[in-house]
């Protein structure tokens, strides 16, 4: 019997102490479109990387067409017809479409390229000459070529990693039609990775749900399962917070009025009509799947991005036209999502990185006092119990948790009035997460107004007083944490708003 074209049984994989996958089962029916749903870090990508031969599982077995595969490497996976479209395209920009499509030695349309190209152009409703260079194509067109590349390589199992993240709604619709035709006419087996419920519903017949490295639901039929069900599976039940929220709040410290931001390159509206207000002693959580405009919002409030419309008011002062430094002087701190690369400069010493926020306050003309900065760093190390080999060590020799503590310490030590914390605990171990939560709550109690941007609903429910949900650049829901319903938040994050 040949029920499944691909079957994965009890796969486990860990990285260091982190279990990325634990006893995962996954099976695909030929010619069907399957959904794989899960939050970031749930293990979707690890599973896909195992299927495409990039990672080797520690345990478990993989069957393709009922034949057990001893070990998969990228080459053998490709030969067995497994192909993947990554979120970052793997096209050669300076080559033509034709060259990119025929590059693989597994190319099955050597002799009849033209007919094949025309056929699939029709399916993808694409009308560009195959001689055109990839660099001249739009994002949507590039993606079509990526998928077509799999067809030319004769991949019968196509893994698509969040293919709609870069597409407009119209393009998404178009993609759905193309994928449906591929599955019907060519009997392609397709896996769509996503965390948007609507898409999973629209695109797929069967859905698998992952959470924390486990497959929490297998082979659900999309027509029978409700959105509530899926969200609960994906997010899990959340414990209501144990942190006291009865602290006093004061005056409004930060208000953001009708912010609109358009990306200059793609002309895409990233942020639309964002309004929010935070009082002293209050944590406002921003929930949302990353990529829905949170980074841009944080950059606009902190002054990094200046090309927007709307108003930013810090401490009753309109700073809309002001740069990073004057906003810092009004005592705003920003803990960016990208720890190493934005918050901290790689290749530079711990000492230099520790003074990035306040160096211009303590300077004496052109002189930077070594002894003062050393003392400052020592006080940070002591106060925030940071482990660093020495002040001259390069920053990336610190562990992730210590880097984040240094970054947080640097931003918090001057007792800022407004704090923007973006994904402050991403990728950290339990102890570091706890330490950082304590820091934020202490800061709240000292009267800071905190904007907490996170994808982690546990964290948001634990720390925030109020919650906004962002979806596609808009605040689609605002709730008080005491009355907030976790399922509603989850649905709003996935784009389902009633």
């Amino acid at each position: 019997m040949k029920k499944y074209i691909l079957e994965v049984k009890n796969i486990s994989k860990s990285f260091g102490n982190v279990k990325a996958l634990e006893d995962v089962n996954f099976y695909l029916q030929k010619g069907k479109i399957h959904g794989l749903l899960g939050e970031n870090g749930a293990g979707k990508s690890s599973l896909m990387n195992i299927l495409s031969g990039i990672y080797q599982p520690e345990k478990g077995s993989i069957f393709i067409n009922d034949i057990k595969q001893k070990s998969l490497d990228p080459e053998s996976a490709s030969e067995l017809g497994i192909g993947m479209v990554h979120q970052e395209f793997r096209l050669i920009e300076s080559f033509s479409i034709k060259d990119n499509l025929t590059l693989s030695k597994a190319n099955i349309y050597k002799d009849n390229f033209k007919e094949a190209y025309e056929k699939y152009c029709e399916i993808f409703s694409l009308s560009v000459s195959p001689e055109k260079l990839i660099a001249q194509l739009s994002v949507g067109e590039k993606q079509k070529i990526e998928i077509m590349k799999l067809i030319f390589k004769n991949s019968n199992i196509m893994l698509l990693d969040e293919p709609t993240a870069v597409l407009t709604p119209q393009e998404t619709d178009q993609l759905r039609i193309s994928l449906e035709r591929l599955s019907e006419e060519d009997e392609k087996t397709i896996v769509l990775i996503s965390h948007k419920l609507k898409e999973i519903r629209d695109f797929t017949e069967k859905v698998f749900v992952m959470k924390n490295g486990k497959m929490v639901a297998e082979d659900l039929s999309t027509v029978n399962v409700t959105d509530d069900n899926l969200v609960e599976l994906m997010m899990g039940r959340i414990q209501k917070s144990i942190i006291d929220k009865s602290n006093k709040t004061g005056d409004t410290k930060l208000s953001v009025e009708s912010i609109e931001y358009i990306d200059k390159v793609s002309n895409y509206k990233i942020l639309e009509d964002i309004n929010l207000e935070i009082k002293a002693g209050e944590i406002l959580g921003i929930a949302g799947v990353s990529g829905n405009g949170q980074v841009e919002l944080a950059n606009i409030i902190s002054g990094i991005e200046s090309d927007y419309s709307g108003k930013i008011i810090i401490n009753n002062k309109d700073v809309s036209q002001k740069g990073v430094k004057s906003r810092k002087k009004l005592n705003l701190s920003y803990i960016p999502e990208n720890r190493l690369g934005v918050g901290l400069a790689p290749g530079v010493s711990v000492l230099d990185n520790s003074i990035v926020r306040d160096y211009f306050k303590t300077r004496l003309g052109p002189h930077l006092s070594r002894s003062k900065t050393e003392t400052y760093l020592e006080s940070l190390i002591k106060k925030f119990s940071i482990k660093a080999p020495n002040s001259k060590a390069e920053i990336s020799t610190l562990s992730g948790g210590n880097m984040q503590k240094l970054l947080m310490g640097r931003e918090l030590v001057s007792n800022p009035e407004v704090i923007i914390a973006s994904q402050p605990t991403r990728g950290l171990d339990v102890n570091a997460v706890e330490a950082i939560h304590t820091l934020l709550v202490d800061q709240r109690d000292m009267g800071s107004a905190i904007l907490l941007i996170s994808e982690d609903l546990d964290e948001l429910f634990k720390l925030s007083n109020r919650l906004h949900v962002m979806y596609e650049g808009k605040i689609v829901k605002s709730l008080d944490i005491d009355t907030a319903d976790i399922n509603n938040v989850g649905l709003a994050m996935a784009g389902v708003i009633e």
């Binding site: 990094i304 990073v324 530079v348 990035v356 001259k392 020799t397």
Partner: protein, 352 residues
Amino acid sequence: MNNLKLFKRQTVNELSTFYSFLIGFIIAIIIGSIILLIQDKNPIDTFSLMLRLSVGSIKSLSSSLNKAIPLILAGLGISIINSVKLWNIGAEGQIFLGAIAVNFIYINTQFNSPSFHILVLLLAGFVGGSVCILIPAITKVVFGVNEIITTLLTNYIVFGVTIYLINGPWKDPKSLNFPAAAYVGEEVFLPTIFGKLSFGFLICILFTFLAHYLKNKSVFGFEMRIAGGSAMTAVYAGINAKQKAFIAMLIGGGFAGLAGAIELLSQTHRVSTGISQGFGYTAIIVAAITGMRPFGIFLVGSLFGALSIGGSVIQTIGVSTYIADIIQASTLFGALIIQFFFNYQIKRVDDD
């Protein structure tokens, strides 16, 4: 399966650059000796002769240090530009344009006070070096054009300009058809300190401290490091990374231009192709060996100055001057390899 893997060391010995230079130098001496042995020359005799003729007397020591001046100044310029993680391959051209600027100002101005005149000419050299790197700096900051290419290419342009000037408008009729500009007057010659040692050496010492301060003790140096480490962190910190890169390039170019001015005012006394004998390129080696440390550049620059004097005198016993170049280049190779082992640790890991 046993595998060798590299691990970055958490702490690196502070003197590691010095040790790697030392070991690199020893390796270079060994390589040099082997080459000498192949040529049937006695390495010990050759090296001791080189030593004696480069630092054995006041006269030879002062020539060695004179040779070191352009290496040190250009090297310092390279190290300042490297603070923003950019490479200046154009020191050679900047030296030439510095000298050209000096001659241009000399021809077109009159000053009564010779010391003030010299000061103006030195400044002209600095500005000339900055002007030389101006186009690479603009193209880097505005369009992101790779500065390694543009600074390298300006060398050829400036060299062409030099050839044009000394064969054309500036050609000295008294030079008996040798392509060179007219000599500058003796009143603007740089004085000597002792022996033949030029006053330029004092300027060199001053600028070493200056570069050290700029790189390591000033707010600007800090801003350069952050800008060089990550452009995004610079934006985040409110540091204008492009402006820092631009200023760093102009200052660095100026240092090399000053070297050209000193060469003209103390050695050649006129613009000719002999203003620089590849100082701008050797300075890259000097800066790289020392890990871009100003005091290191001063020491290694001095050593390399002595090496090239030593190299030029051993011709008398029939050894090619290239032995000095071989030692310089092998020192860089050796030092970089040794530095790698200071920065990384090789471990055997079980990977099954």
